[in-house]
Symmetry: C2
Subunit: 142 residues, 2 copies
Amino acid sequence: MQQRFYTITQLTQEFAITTRTLRFYEAQGLLAPQRRGRQRLYSPADRTRLKLILRGKRLGFSLSEISEMIGMYGKAPGEAGQLRLLMEKITARRAELLEKRRDIGLTLKELDEVEAGARARMAEIGGVFEDGAASIVREEEA
Amino acid sequence: MQQRFYTITQLTQEFAITTRTLRFYEAQGLLAPQRRGRQRLYSPADRTRLKLILRGKRLGFSLSEISEMIGMYGKAPGEAGQLRLLMEKITARRAELLEKRRDIGLTLKELDEVEAGARARMAEIGGVFEDGAASIVREEEA
DNA sequence: ACGTCTTTTTACGTTAAAGTCAACAGAGAG
DNA sequence: CTCTCTGTTGACTTTAACGTAAAAAGACGT
């Protein structure tokens, strides 16, 4: 198995972030790349973790929340009390995510309405636009 | 029609925010309650706006993004160029929201996996828990 | 070996979104 | 009228999440 590594700039380019960001995440304990001398070497696993972090950010979670969530992925703890705690956290997170999904649904619906209004207004005043802007192809979902 | 109003503290209690937050939103131009003397009086419309703001926050949007989105809801502009711009913004927002929804789906799936692992681990070590914690009723969706 | 480019470390600066604190105004209860 | 609540304004502070700058150490092509 060939352990391929990524340099810091490769990751910054792939994900459109800065080196400062990556080092900051490391300082926060979210990443822990290997070192060759002083240089950081990011493994595929590190890259995956980074993707999880960025996904969390897109969803509006704070770095500490993200840290907690990623912590769950590690492995189920051996002790019963810890397991129960983990289950509680999962339940809480799930509720939060479902709420966000409802919020998104509402917002999308409202956007549709605004768009319909705009479209009507367009028809009223200007006729049709030259390019396809008036018949946007909707990105497929899920 | 009776115009019922809300005091600032009523809103803070209903939405679990502080007066500071409400005044801050006002300073940012997100709210504009009437005044009776110096006192703020929030109309039902103001309350609705506030709900939109908080929903935006839950989804991780910044206040200026929220401001822009709420601005769309106002009314379609009369000028064609403005209309087109509006449509573009709508399209961009929609894409963003759909991405978030995909992200949520992935995260939920991962949570399910973690939960399954935890459940298995539970069965392994401790048998079943006394209360219903081991058979969580899933919140209904949408 | 040399100059150039990348990377690291350290330190200070910045921005958004409030929190905290102080001083004061108005309104109603006793 | 005085006390107490609620609300207001203004100033200062805080926190998260980076940005920016400076100096030095490696890495790389020729």
